[in-house]
Amino acid sequence: MILYKEILASLGINLDDEKSAALIQHFEETLQERVGTEIFEALDDDQASKLITLQQGDDMKATAEFIKQNVPDYESIVKDETDILLGELADDADALAA
């Protein structure tokens, strides 16, 4: 889990358990999609094709290794996408808390 209820609270987003769980799930799905998009952006067609093959084979370990090997700045991508999304969360905090 990346986002915690405490982080939401620190932003002034105080929701009940059900709503905060839904928001956290939405946050993480959005983050996954954005990171996935950036990963694909960083690959050329051949590499993307290879990644697709690995994903279709459900080999998580090989896929992870492939990303490590072929997307040298994947950690930066993950960190930046996380920070961007948290920034958006901070921007939306008032609306979400209401």
Binding site: I2, Y4, K5, E6, I7, L8, A9, S10, L11, G12, K19, A22, L23, H26, E29, T30, L31, Q32, E33, V35, G36, T37, E38, I39, F40, E41, A42, L43, D45, A48, S49, L51, I52, Q55, M60, T63, A64, I67, K68, D73, Y74, E75, S76, I77, V78, K79, D80, E81, T82, D83, I84, L86, G87, E88, A90, D91, D92, A93, A95, L96
Partner: protein
């Protein structure tokens, strides 16, 4: 391959690159702002195309059916448009749209695709959604400009052409994003050749993207650090959720926003680097192609050289050609001389007669002058 629309000049590569970067960082809140920023960059035609975008703020808690209406105004053509105001209703992508005519302008009001909402909150549009909306808007702008130039009715254009234009713009935007090409959006209006690669199609599969993102998140250190920070935050404060002071909340929000902006800049920088790398690679491929073409040309020249006479044979051939030319020139000179000689013989009698006539005329003129002088002297005496 792209084509320009009439007198619309292409945007500069820097402008397009900047806009592409903006697209990469669009979210639901900033979308309309970005579009508003972008629209003025489209140069007005001589007919002063006017495009206005209405409010699209979604209603919280809506079911996703809400479709904000955007109005696009076209300058009216006086010669073909009735002065009286009128309103027509028509279907556009199976949704009701309105064409309003007044004495001064025509306004097409049509719905945008419905946006999804979840749990009473507006879900930030996915990248695909953003592209679709840009494509949608871009197509309308394109349609507006095209309409103005073609002097056809907005009604006909929207009904007949817009769907295809939208698809082209959308595909053009995708391709531009994928390849880092700077010939984006504007140049993609009216693109005649578009395609979607497997990679592009894959990028539209949210489930697969999420899987790739989830795996990347799993292997990255960053989210773990964030999680630790969250745990530390909770431990440090030891507070109930509702007990954060407004000052603490404000400080946290500011901190998160700042980090978000910095991250967005880094992301933009990465996108620029990727685009530059692709351009460099393509330039290198172009250089390779030129090298191959040069080699082929050299090979062809060598082949032709082998076929051509060489050495002693070439010298003999050249000497023969020179001798032949000299002979032709000599023959020509003789013929010319002979011609001149014959001509002189033929012309001589005519010259003699002409000289005789000229002499006779001169003598007559002289006698006439002498007679006139005598007459003048007598008259004076």
């Amino acid at each position: 391959m792209t084509e320009q629309l009439g007198n619309i000049p292409p945007a500069s590569p820097d402008d397009l690159q900047a806009f592409e970067n903006k697209i990469n960082n669009l979210d639901s809140r900033s979308f309309e702002t970005e579009i508003q920023d972008f629209l003025p960059a489209i140069p007005a035609t001589s007919a002063e195309v006017h495009v206005s975008v209405g409010s699209s703020t979604p209603t919280a808690g809506s079911t996703g059916e809400a479709a904000p209406a955007h109005a696009y105004s076209l300058p009216e053509e006086p010669s073909t448009t009735p002065a009286a105001a009128s309103t027509e209703k028509f279907d556009w992508f199976d949704k009701p749209a309105t064409l309003s005519r007044t004495a001064s302008e025509t306004v097409v009001t049509a719905p945008l695709p419905a946006q999804s909402h979840e749990g009473g909150r507006h879900r930030a549009p996915r990248r695909r959604g953003v592209l679709a909306r840009i494509g949608d808007l871009g197509a309308k702008v394109s349609a507006t400009l095209q309409e103005t130039q073609d002097r056809r009715s907005a009604r006909d254009y929207v009904a007949d052409k817009l769907e295809g234009a939208e698809a082209k713009v959308r595909a053009g935007a995708k391709i531009a994003k994928e390849t880092g090409e700077t010939t984006m959006i504007l140049a993609s209006f009216g693109a005649s050749e578009v395609h979607e690669s497997m990679k592009t199609a894959w990028k539209n599969n949210k489930g697969k993207l999420k899987t790739a993102g989830k795996i990347a998140l799993g292997v990255a250190v960053a989210p773990i650090v964030l999680g630790v920070e969250g745990a530390k935050l909770a431990a440090r404060t030891g507070q109930e959720a509702s007990r954060f002071t407004s000052e603490q909340i404000t400080a946290t929000r500011i901190s998160f926003r700042k980090r978000g902006l910095e991250a967005a800049q880094r992301k933009e920088h990465r996108a620029e680097e990727r685009a530059q790398n692709i351009r460099t690679e393509r330039a290198a491929q172009g250089a390779d192609l030129r090298t191959v073409q040069q080699q082929e040309l050299q090979a062809l020249q060598a082949k032709q050289a082998r076929k051509a006479p060489s050495g002693r044979r070439a010298i003999i051939t050249a000497a023969k050609q020179e001798a032949k030319i000299n002979l032709m020139q000599a023959e020509h000179a003789l013929e010319l001389d002979d011609f001149n000689s014959q001509t002189r013989e033929k012309v001589a009698p005519h010259y003699a007669r002409a000289n005789h006539i000229a002499t006779k005329n001169a003598r007559r003129q002289s006698n006439l002058t002498a007679l006139r002088m005598k007459a003048a002297k007598r008259k004076a005496a």
